[in-house]
């Protein structure tokens, strides 16, 4: 364990990092905005963000990070009270603080812990600032003794209702018990075990709080070996022991603890924890840091497991669900009707009608669900003011940035791959496009350069345009570079061809050319990301002396299909869950050879038996028992025998070329993270005459 650096609870840490990342980004944005206009609300917002950062990181035990935030808060406090003037130096240091916090967070997410000395230089600078201007305040700047945690003494942050229940229990003469239950390490269904204990306990005692909460995302809890229950019970451990006695439990610890103090009677620390969403759980993380946890889990880099969804989208989904319930009721009435001897033709008619609307409903739900994946592009755009500000200062080129279309929505999966290329293009525009002020004045241009970034939706495409009013693409220097690199006939290339060269560095044989300089440094990376990874397109337009425009066109969404992975003859295949009825075991005895081919019984009828090998024109290895899946395409059903059933996965599907799909057996192809190839099965073969 890592001592004070070691809150090992991966879920809490993930929550902290996710919240923290957003918090730090907002902090950076607000500081940038503050530079433009001094505003009391903005100042308060910054103060609030810094304060949350301080308390959350302190609660998680990240001393270095919390010390930084604390010092920033001190400086902010002096600014707010008027003892310190908000000048450039102060703002720069605060921004540096926000940046460093982001760096620390990614370090924590990567390494599982913060480096001890990670912030000391900035803390010193900020303290010096506070000291030089405020004298007397200096004493308060320094290491923070993780204020909230000690007093919390390992309790979660109980809410009012929980505290009331505990009060009542105390009046009944019960005591508060902390019960730690550890599931054996190799039990795959840890959540289920914990839940079993919970339901047993509920029968005999008052469970106040469970950490981690059992009504959270169950899949997440699979990783947890240890669950802590806070409950009130009469004296005697037998009842509790009995309830916790479930299979696959490695250890049970029962500890009687003091009832927590009420917040109004308590210390400042309650108030500190009060504005942090995770303060309650964090207390546990310190007090209880589960010793049995797998450290490889906690060191895993942060993955975005949870998402934020616009409530309007959820409302829309909800209305679909409501409609679904109506249909269910209708169908149930129909089935009653069958029992009561209702006219069959009427029932048939109503069923067909009901089915039609169900079909509409399900495609509507699909669309609505897909929409929840869409987020506004402002998530990326909001980083640009800061980027432009920093670069323009560094390069000494004053630049004005105009954003438009920030509300344009784009698929999450695309957003993440988009940030780097856009940043790169802006950096290029500032570095190579925009001229120095003297030059601009000489050319009769406004002294301040201008960069505009706009996004809009055009049919099924998102268009993002980044334009600058700089010197335009320097095709001659690209040509010179091309000549010097020995690209044949470079001297006779047209402007358009030269522009394309920027995207195709040496036609990408690294041995020939590594980069075409001038404006194009790294543009090949941009092109690859946009064209190949995101299946979009990028194009350059430029007028010498007037500026450059980079236009990106992106598909609205990338297709992700929930699938079952199966293996056969050394290859992997994905079966869309939508087309899957069930997995099954099929014995040789069950299969019968009929005129048309093999069949086997399924839900009371004989359905065809296919095998993956057979579909591929290979021999099926004869066995006594086969793994199979039951698939459907429309109303056609069939078994498909495979070598192995692997797991369910979300798969990003790309088109598969006919050259490797001659019999159209596949609807797509994908490369998994580990480089393995997966072909997505198209179940329409069930309809073909395959016997």
């Amino acid at each position: 364990m890592f001592g004070t650096n070691g809150p090992d609870d991966a879920r809490l840490k993930r929550a902290f990092l996710e919240e923290g990342e957003e918090l730090v980004q907002k902090l950076g944005e607000s500081l940038t905005a503050l530079e433009q206009r001094s505003d009391k609300d903005l100042m308060n917002e910054i103060f609030r963000l810094t304060h949350s950062l301080k308390s959350e990181s302190a609660l998680m035990g990240y001393a270095s990070l919390s010390r930084l935030a604390h010092t920033m808060e001190d400086v902010l406090g002096m600014v707010r009270s008027g003892t310190l003037v908000l000048g450039k130096e102060v703002l720069d240091l605060l921004m540096a603080g926000a940046d460093r916090s982001a760096v620390m967070m990614s370090e924590i997410s990567r390494e599982g812990r913060e480096s001890e000395a990670g912030t000391s230089d900035l803390v010193n600078d900020l303290s010096a600032l506070a000291g030089a201007n405020g004298g007397a305040r200096k004493a308060s700047v320094g290491p923070v003794a993780a204020p909230a945690s000690d007093a919390l003494n390992g309790y979660p942050m109980f809410d009012e209702m929980e505290l009331r229940r505990m009060d009542e229990a105390r009046d009944r003469g019960e005591s508060l018990v902390r019960l730690s239950v550890t599931v054996v390490a190799d039990e795959p269904m840890k959540y289920a075990r914990a839940f079993l204990v919970f339901s047993n306990l509920e029968q005999v005692v008052n469970v106040i709080r469970v950490v981690p909460p059992l009504d959270g995302e169950p899949l997440e809890e699979f990783r947890y070996g240890k669950t802590v229950f806070y409950l009130t019970a009469p004296p005697g451990d037998d009842v509790i022991k009995g309830a916790s006695c479930v299979d696959q439990i490695a250890s049970v610890e029962i500890e009687r603890i003091d009832f927590p103090g009420r917040p109004d009677a308590g210390t400042v620390t309650w108030a500190v924890g009060g504005d942090s969403l995770h303060a309650g759980d964090s207390g546990i993380a310190r007090g209880e840091s589960a010793a049995g946890n797998d450290s490889s889990v906690s060191n895993r880099p942060l993955e975005k497991a949870s998402i934020r969804v616009d409530t309007r989208k959820l409302d829309e989904l909800w209305s679909f669900v409501a409609e679904l319930v109506l249909h269910k009721a209708h169908i149930s009435r129909l089935s009653d009707g069958v029992a009561r001897g209702m006219d069959v033709s009427v029932i048939r008619e109503e069923l067909v009608e009901s089915f039609d609307s169900l079909e509409k409903l399900s495609s509507g739900m699909q669309q609505a669900m897909r929409d929840t994946r869409m987020i506004p592009i402002s998530i990326i755009f909001n980083k640009f003011p800061r980027l432009v500000r920093d670069l323009s200062r560094k390069l000494e080129k004053p630049v004005e940035l105009a954003l438009s279309g920030e509300d344009t929505e784009i698929d999450r999966s695309i957003i993440e791959s988009l940030s780097d290329p856009l940043t790169h293009i802006i950096r290029n525009a500032l570095d190579h496009g925009i001229e120095f002020p003297e030059e601009r004045v000489r050319l009769g241009k406004p002294e301040k350069g201008r960069i505009t970034v706009s996004a809009w939706r055009q049919g099924g495409t998102i268009v993002i345009e980044l334009a600058d009013d700089g010197r335009g693409l320097d095709t001659e220097s690209i040509r010179n570079k091309a000549v010097s690199l020995g690209i044949p006939d470079a001297s006779s290339l047209s402007e358009t061809q030269l522009r394309e060269l920027v995207f195709l560095p040496g036609f990408s044989t690294r041995e020939v050319v590594t980069d075409v300089s001038g404006r194009g440094v790294g543009m090949d990376v941009v092109a690859t990301r946009i064209r190949n990874d995101l299946r979009g397109d990028v194009e350059l337009a430029s007028e010498p002396g007037k500026g450059t425009r980079v236009i990106l066109r992106l598909p609205l969404t990338i297709t992700i299909v929930n699938s079952l992975l199966v293996a056969d003859h050394t290859h992997l295949y994905a079966i869309p869950l939508d087309d899957l009825d069930s997995t099954a075991k099929l014995t040789a005895a069950e299969m019968s050879l009929e005129e048309g081919g093999e069949t086997a019984p399924w839900m009371g009828e004989q359905i065809p038996v296919h095998s993956m090998a057979g579909l591929l024109g290979l021999e099926r290895t004869p066995r006594e028992e086969y793994f199979a899946v039951v698939l459907h395409h429309g109303t056609s059903r069939g078994f498909l025998i495979v070598d192995e059933l692997i797991e369910e996965r979300e798969i990003v599907i790309k088109p598969v070329d006919d050259l490797v799909n001659p019999s159209r057996l596949f609807s797509g192809v994908s490369v998994l993270d580990d480089g393995r190839l997966v072909f997505m099965l198209d179940t329409s073969f069930l309809r073909r005459d395959y016997f």
């Binding site: 036609f507 070329d657 019999s663």
Partner: protein, 169 residues
């Protein structure tokens, strides 16, 4: 008007494809076997997330003979899996896969050696002479005493219609 081409060697022949259809040139590494493919397809290669079929150009053009004709297997065109990564050893370290884009399809062409970019006057292009693989050659041109065959990518990549005719002749 002049068009520019990437030229490469295939056996003893010189071939070329238009520069603007070439996306990338990579070494024949990481070619993955696939369960089903046209007979002249070696496998697929992962080009930054795109799964790109790799065409054994010699077999596709039917010029196997220039290399001694030592790989006549799989001539039946019955869709047996391709043979894993043959490309690497065949023409030594100069062998490359030229990734081309034609009508929005990506495809890799296995070649023995990538030579240079040549500029060809359209007026100097001639109709292909009568050769075995004429169907995949759009035109020919002479340059510095060499004969260059300009490949017709669309036809090379057309899998469906002429699959039957695709095997070595």
């Amino acid at each position: 008007m002049t068009r520019r081409y990437v030229s490469f060697l295939l056996g003893a022949g010189r071939y070329c494809v238009p520069v603007d259809e070439v996306l990338q040139i990579v070494r024949p590494e990481g070619i993955m076997e696939v369960p089903q493919a046209a007979p002249f397809v070696t496998g697929v290669i992962n080009i930054r997330g795109d799964v790109v079929p790799v065409v054994d150009l010699k077999r596709r053009l039917g010029t196997d003979a220039t290399q001694g004709g030592n790989e006549p297997q799989d001539a039946s065109g019955d869709g047996q899996p391709g043979v894993q990564s043959r490309g690497g050893s065949r023409a030594g370290s100069r062998a490359r896969v030229v990734i081309v884009r034609s009508s929005n399809r990506l495809c890799g062409l296995e070649v023995d050696d990538v030579r240079e970019i040549v500029a060809i006057e359209e007026s100097s292009e001639e109709a292909p002479v009568s050769e075995a693989h004429t169907q995949f050659v759009r035109g020919v041109t002479h340059r510095d005493g060499n004969l260059f065959l300009i490949l017709d990518l669309q036809r090379i990549l057309s899998a469906g219609r002429d699959l039957a005719a695709a095997g070595p002749s």
